[in-house]
């Protein structure tokens, strides 16, 4: 008579293997980004409450805790972007009788797009702030 052993997935399955740990780190990048979003939301709320409240929020950003949160959020955003863009050629495969694009070009286009978007954002921010800061 058959009596198969039914294995149960342990809660610690993701600690068993480096590939699972990398995956969980990639997915966990969402958590610092959630905290950073809440931080920005708090900024908007403080802004609506007046200049003094907003100044307090701005000064909190420069405390060690504020800087740590922003640093972790930046690292998480970068890790998320790099790992996501690296997966793109596996998902976005353009290959039909009418049109075929080399997967390396798809990857390069995404990398260049991400770079251009980020540089554009930094450039636009500097351009907007420069007269106020420099004058």
């Amino acid at each position: 008579m058959r009596k198969p052993w039914q294995p149960q997935q342990p809660r610690s399955w993701w600690l068993r293997n480096p590939a699972y740990r990398r995956y969980m780190l990639r997915e966990a990048t969402a958590l610092p980004l959630l905290l950073y979003t809440l931080l920005l939301l708090a900024g908007i709320v403080q802004f609506s409450r007046g200049e003094a409240a907003f100044a307090t929020w701005l000064s909190w950003l420069q405390t060690p805790a504020g800087l740590l949160l922003q640093g972790i959020a930046l690292a998480a955003a970068l890790l998320h972007a790099v790992t996501w863009v690296a997966l793109v050629p596996k998902i976005l495969v353009i290959d039909s009788d009418r049109l075929r694009i080399d997967p390396r070009h798809v990857l390069r286009a995404h990398q260049l797009g991400a770079l251009a978007g980020n540089l554009g954002l930094v450039g636009a921010t500097l351009w907007l702030l420069w007269p106020a800061g420099g004058a």
Binding site: W5, Q6, R16, Y20, Y23, L87, K90, I91, R100
Partner: protein, 250 residues
């Protein structure tokens, strides 16, 4: 250099055991010995009660999958020489599957998932037998890697989503669905799309990607499944459009 190596084999004998346990064997170790050779040595010379599954010895039958030091491997394609430094080799049945006995995992659930997606060429009408369905090399290249699957189930042992929910169709079945959907000779994608679109289909995959790392035939199931998500999105849009025009699903 040691000429023996220790194997810690997870045993399970349904007649006597209530749960798996570990038994250690010392086997000869040479550069040309595979883990399968070591298991056969145990079976032949040390302990005839050990059960393991194997057939071709050349990574094509897909029978001899086991966990070696926690990684899903074909035992015929995994060599003792690569584990000399580790000293002990832990061998157990494939993860995420019921264990029938010792190293024999029950893959019948996986086979049912594979059958469900109709992994064969579907034609609306059969062509006369004296002609062939022509296909260009470029058309074949679109699915060729996905057609290399040997149904060894290593990808299922690697997939934590399948471990969590055995109803998930899983890497090999969804890859084979893509393999036939991408075949220019096939006309059956409308019969497979409901499986891709289902809760147990492509959307249960969270792109862990380990299935592609362990695949002994470089099939890249993670890519096939996630391309299946693109196909499922397009299918959703097309079906919505057809619904508005009063037609059935594509």
């Amino acid at each position: 250099m040691s000429d023996t190596i220790e194997l810690a084999v997870t045993r399970y004998r349904p007649e006597q055991d209530t749960q798996p346990w570990e038994q250690r064997y010392t086997v000869p170790c040479s550069d040309d010995m595979s883990v399968l050779d070591a298991l056969n040595y145990i079976k032949d010379a040390l302990d005839p009660s050990l059960s393991h599954r194997w057939s071709c010895r050349m990574a094509i039958c897909g029978s001899c999958g086991v966990m070696v030091n926690g990684e899903p491997k074909l035992s015929c394609k995994t060599f003792l020489r690569d584990y000399r430094e580790a000293g002990v080799l832990e061998v157990r049945a494939l993860d995420n599957l019921p264990v029938e006995r010792d190293l024999v995992a029950d893959i019948s659930g996986v086979v049912e998932h594979i059958e469900a997606v109709k992994p064969w060429l579907i034609r609306h009408s059969e062509a006369p037998v004296d002609t062939a369905h022509s296909q260009t090399p470029a058309q074949m290249a679109r699915y060729h890697a996905f057609s290399q699957c040997i149904n060894c189930a290593l990808c299922y042992a690697a997939c934590p989503q399948f471990g969590r929910n055995p109803a998930f169709l899983g890497p090999a079945a969804l890859t084979l669905a893509q393999r036939y959907n991408l075949d220019s000779r096939d006309e059956g994608s409308s019969e497979r799309m409901p499986w891709l679109n289902a809760e147990e289909g492509v959307w249960s995959c969270t792109f862990v990607g380990y299935c592609s790392e362990v695949c002994p035939k470089d099939v890249d199931p993670a890519s096939a499944i996630n391309r299946g998500k693109v196909a499922s999105d397009i299918n959703y849009g097309v079906n919505l459009f057809r619904l508005l025009r009063g037609k059935g699903d594509a």
